[in-house]
Symmetry: C2
Subunit: 304 residues, 2 copies
């Protein structure tokens, strides 16, 4: 299963830059600008997808693939697919009927830079692109593997995953007294489902067995929670210019978050404890786990 | 390749009823109502998906599968997937930022019956469900086949297919002087791409060769155009109550359609000629082509 020697570990910073550049190059190749009435649609897709974001989900795919000796080129295609779904969700989340945000990654949101209809369609087309990428023969020579990747990503994106979590989030704004278990379920669906798929993608590409999938699942559960707490902290105490998006939204809406429940200091300590616990699940993999272990620390401490 | 004797051909009417019931049953099984904050999302998905529409695309999948001796049960799952994408597109098309319609299939549109955010997410979740269904092992035992179905449907749904056609349609409202070639391309993308995939689905499930795919492609091109002309005629002269949606929209927007270009009588004659041409492409298949040949006539003459 561990088919080749681990790659030399660069610093996390240069890994993030290299992955960002690789994902940008793939988006660029998949999204040539057409010379007809579809042009604004593809411009909007490129505007949303290229050059922005931390590319956390592609990095998680890459990390789980490296853990198991899978080639970076397969992992990057799977990472591109999950990033398509992620960017789709950001575009739709920002629309006036959802969060009604004007700013994302420090720039006008897609419906502000273009218009609402174009933003809606750009989100839809990126959603479709995810599955076009995953199901294409270049992504992996084995059709069973491609189908397993696609089935899992579709489940993670839909009513039993991210879209379901977004719906719970809307419901929670109307009826804000969520219990701790409901809050955890909401986050597990809304942000956890794509994170979890990203980690399982490496295992699917490697045809890994149950124990490895379980370890990646435990790592992902801790990481997902740490990620959400960090997000809540950014909203609570963040600097809008640095965050690149509107902050203070949760308090304005009376929304229950980990910060309102635990207070900011306990929340930060909890996130760091979760990151350490996540990393520990991967100790048996030795240096092959370096990227995922460093990512756990990054996720808990990030400020944007 | 023609692995079994043709099924007895029921009347088209009873085929349509049986397929409608089968698709409803599949939607019902895939969309159990959850007992948490996701409930309104799944209610909205069920509201949009169950009990409505002609199920034309599933019937086309079924027809192409029967042509090639593929089991109805595989065809119905592929038909469910394309219907998911179709219903997704209707929900999003009806939103205020797109066509802003209040009526669909004789009932309030999803964003009127629920709200805009729920409609947006229900469309997204149905989009994801399409790929979850296609990629699941129950849909076909061969992973390559499932991946080929998913890649094709994703392409048909995205910027190079339906979403691209919707974008061209929006652009055409601003700049209405489209040439005939542009009008044909718009329709080929907006409605033609899903129709074409539905017909290729039978060929993919049967691992059919190039000649069969070409014949199905020619049938689909003619059928798609006939379908669009019938749609334009319904908008031009239709009865809102019978159509179950707002009519007269095209003229109100000064939109170029086959009816404005050809006049209603020539348009109807052209649709019927296209249906006859579509049916003729399938003559070599004898009685196995019955369902698709009858569907061509139905599509050209439909009044809702």
């Amino acid at each position: 299963m561990l088919a080749r020697a681990p790659l030399p570990v660069l610093t996390l910073d240069s890994e993030m830059r290299a992955t960002g550049a690789a994902i940008d190059a793939l988006f660029d190749a998949w999204l040539p600008l057409p010379d007809d009435g579809r042009r604004p649609l593809v411009e909007a897709m490129r505007y949303a997808a290229i050059g922005g974001g931390k590319r956390l989900r592609p990095l998680l795919v890459l990390g789980s693939a490296r853990l198991l000796g899978v080639s970076d080129s397969y992992a990057l295609r799977a990472g591109l697919a999950v990033e398509c779904v992620h960017v789709h969700s950001l575009i739709h989340d920002d629309l006036p009927c959802m969060d009604d945000d004007d700013l994302r990654r420090g720039r006008p949101t897609v419906h502000r830079a273009f218009d609402e209809a174009t933003a809606l369609l750009a989100g839809d087309a990126l959603h479709a692109l995810a599955f076009e990428v995953l199901a294409s023969p270049d992504t992996h020579p084995n059709g069973e593997t491609r189908a397993e990747l696609a089935a899992g990503l579709a489940r993670a994106a839909g009513a039993r995953g991210m879209a379901g979590g977004q719906m719970m989030d809307l419901a929670a704004e109307r009826e804000p007294l969520l219990g701790e278990a409901q809050l955890a379920q909401l986050q597990r669906l809304k942000t956890g489902a794509l994170i979890s798929w990203s980690l399982q993608a490496g295992a699917i590409l490697a045809h890994a067995g149950a124990e490895i999938r379980t370890r990646l699942g435990c790592y992902g559960d801790c990481l997902g929670l740490a990620f959400q707490i960090a997000d809540d902290l950014i909203d609570h105490e963040g600097d809008e210019r640095r965050a690149g998006k509107r902050v203070g939204k949760d308090a304005a809406r009376g929304k229950q978050t980990f910060v309102t429940r635990l207070g900011p200091e306990s929340a930060r300590a909890h996130a760091e404890e979760l990151a350490a616990r996540a990393a520990a699940y991967l100790d048996p993999f030795g240096s092959r786990a370096a990227l995922l272990q460093e990512l756990a620390g990054f996720v808990a401490q990030r400020d944007r």
